[in-house]
């Protein structure tokens, strides 16, 4: 479970076909860690989504916006040899850390809804989610092992996708 940790910070997006790489987003609050994996090809990607929708389609940081992060990440993992039909997605985050009392719906929930909608529009299977609630999370994507783990504040890394027989798991 060790390897080179590649930090994916707010708004960033990373892809890898190096089996030693571990893609990491630390301290996701209202943000979403969007992972895509082709476990057979041992290719994976992670985007650290901050907001549901981009103000325009040609922003410099597609990883920041759910609507652009999904197609950009999909293109990125396919370019490294992932087969589109084998790609599985997992999402982590979308918590409500604070209530600002502004919009009708908090940003975390809007980020999650937009990410799910974009995955569906792209035809990518969402296999696991650890989202919502009021707790921060860290996501790790182990490229070679095809494993996604989640750690909540004060907790340990727990497998979310890839360690067990596939089943849709949703924790809220």
């Amino acid at each position: 479970m060790s390897g080179t940790e590649v930090m994916v910070r707010m708004g960033e997006l990373a892809t890898s076909a190096d089996p030693g790489d571990v893609l990491v987003s630390i301290g996701l609050g209202s943000c979403i860690g969007l992972a895509m994996l082709d476990r057979k090809a041992a290719v994976a990607g992670l985007a650290h989504v901050v907001l549901p929708a981009a103000p325009s389609p040609d922003v410099a940081t597609p990883g920041k916006f759910a609507d652009l992060a999904v197609p950009a990440l999909l293109e990125g993992v396919c370019a490294l040899g992932a087969a589109r039909h084998r790609i599985e997605a997992a999402i982590v985050g979308g918590a409500q850390m604070f209530s600002f009392g502004k919009g009708a719906l908090d940003i975390g929930a809007r980020n999650e809804a937009a990410t799910r909608a974009a995955l569906e529009a792209a035809g990518v299977r969402l296999r696991a989610a650890a989202t919502g609630g009021g707790t921060g999370r860290t996501v790790r994507v182990h490229v070679g092992e095809g494993l996604v783990t989640v750690k909540e504040a004060g907790g340990r890394d727990e497998p979310l996708l890839g360690a067990r027989p596939l089943a849709m798991e949703v924790r809220r």
């Binding site: 707010m10 943000c31 103000p55 940003i107 921060g136 504040a153």
Partner: protein, 197 residues
Amino acid sequence: MKTQYTEVQLDALRELANIGSGNSATALSQMVGRPIDVSAPTAFALPIGEAAEAIGSPETPVTAVLVPVCGDLDAVVLLLFQPDAAATLCRLLGVEPGTELGVSALGEIGNVLGTNYISALGTMTGLAIEPRPPQTVADMLGAVLSSAVIGVDETRDIALLLDSELATDGEECALSFLLIPSEGGVAELLDRLGVGA
């Protein structure tokens, strides 16, 4: 969109934070019955991706108290207690750290500090601002800070953080004190300080 602030503007904002946190240190000193030191504030104007890491490692456990500002300024005050500071403050107040009572006591400290800070800001700038009820969470630094930065202002790419640190004499009790205005809030503050664009 404006992404850079001049040194003169950052100096003015630091001075504002200095007086705000000085005011709060006095209040905390009265609460715990011992002297409190305030560091010279630091101003960070950073891309939001880096803002969370400017304060510390994003996975550091912190107790955070968020005090939203309402009125003429769109901003939040965020107090961050690292575990040792949280334990020290709880001990000084005679409550058990890590318990529900301990978290509640830190929330109250945050409330007093945030309220004094906001009151000093209002006096200095002439803005009609008031604190809203505080929210206390114990979580990872990155999750807390990123959510506060995005919650205040969704559209910006650059976050401005004004960080003051308070410490008790001879005790491990560093706590971070952040003023996080929206982009419009920064402009409002700079105008009031006479160094606007």
